[in-house]
């Protein structure tokens, strides 16, 4: 099952010197990238390295730390069955460039991230809430959102 491509880390680091940091992970190559370099790295991965599929876009809320959120992208290369994970840190007032123009499949995952965490994806064609009602207040998966529901009685 483990058919990943560990050399992708060196190829990426020679292509983008000083832009990427390798992160220890047990399952697949994982790289941390700064927000300004995100789209360049993603375009390179899709066009030059054949990562043709965006599996998911995830968000982690590290509440007390300063760049509060971490956006995680999982990409897939269908010929070698290789996967890669790209992470980037986002502060609460920052927006992330959308990868939907690169992978149309990132449309709904980005809407989900916007719905539940309030991350704004710049350049997304249709950034609306996807799960919650349109008039919902707040973003429920943030760490500072109340844990329990409102008992009406």
């Amino acid at each position: 099952m483990n058919q990943n491509d560990p050399e992708i880390v060196e190829r990426l680091q020679s292509q983008f010197p000083d832009a990427l940091q390798s992160v220890a992970a047990i399952d697949q190559p994982t790289l941390q990238v700064g927000l300004p370099d995100l789209l360049r790295v993603m375009t390179f991965l899709r066009d030059e390295q054949k990562y043709k599929m965006c599996l998911d876009v995830l968000v982690v809320d590290y509440l007390p730390t300063h760049p509060r959120f971490e956006v995680v992208y999982h990409l897939y290369e269908p010929w070698k069955h290789a996967r890669i994970r790209i992470k980037t840190r986002v502060a609460i007032n920052q927006s992330v460039p959308s990868v939907t123009p690169l992978w149309p499949g990132a449309n709904w995952p980005e809407r989900e991230a916007y719905d539940l965490f309030g991350i704004v994806f710049e350049g997304h064609p249709d950034l609306r809430r996807i799960y919650l009602p349109d008039d919902w207040d707040g973003h429920p998966l943030r760490k500072d959102y109340p844990m329990t529901g409102t008992r009406i009685d």
Binding site: P133, P140, P146, G149, T150, I152, D153
Partner: protein, 171 residues
């Protein structure tokens, strides 16, 4: 004094009752539920109609996909905040008189899902006649709830929403 043959025949083949009682009997013997399965309780609700439990014995097996043909709404499962307006609309589309069974812990009180997404009891949205406890209630429990509802109908107790309206009118 002896009865003539026509009177004897009538004694054997006629039962006397009131029209109201007869109407209630017809009503309780054909409580048609609307399908409103929302979670795992719906699986138990489905199995109540199969041959092992056979809800058809009590005339309530015809699950209707259209609320306009249903008398009873079995809310089976957790109701999310997003589903609540849909549930209310479907309840309002049902012809009167209509009843609601809240099936299981989640529909009755929110259950373990004490979070932002789940309504803490469907009685905040629609008036509930019968609460069936359990997580999920087994088919016998749901059948018991339906039988209790039939008892209420037979006794002439009006549906909960009518009782609430009457309470609101009395000063």
């Amino acid at each position: 004094m002896g009865l003539n043959p026509a009177q004897k025949e009538a004694e054997k083949s006629l039962l006397l009752t009131t029209v109201e009682k007869m109407g209630r009997w017809a009503q309780k013997s054909s409580v048609w539920p609307a399908t409103f399965g929302l979670a795992c309780c719906a699986i138990e609700m489905m199995s109540v109609t199969n041959s092992r439990y056979d809800l058809a014995r009590f005339g309530a097996e015809v699950f209707r996909a259209s609320p306009r043909q249903a008398d009873l709404m079995i809310v089976a499962g957790r109701v999310s905040q997003k589903m609540a307006p849909v549930l209310r609309t479907i309840w309002e589309q049902m012809p009167e008189p209509k009843w609601v069974i809240s099936m299981g812990a989640c529909a009755s009180s929110g259950g373990v899902f004490d979070n932002y997404a789940i309504i803490q009891g469907v009685d905040h949205v629609v008036p509930v006649d019968i609460y069936v406890p359990g997580c999920p209630p087994n088919p016998e429990a749901l059948m018991f709830g339906i039988l209790k509802l039939q008892e209420q109908i037979m006794k002439g107790i009006p549906p909960k929403y009518q009782r609430l309206a009457m309470e609101a009118q009395t000063p």
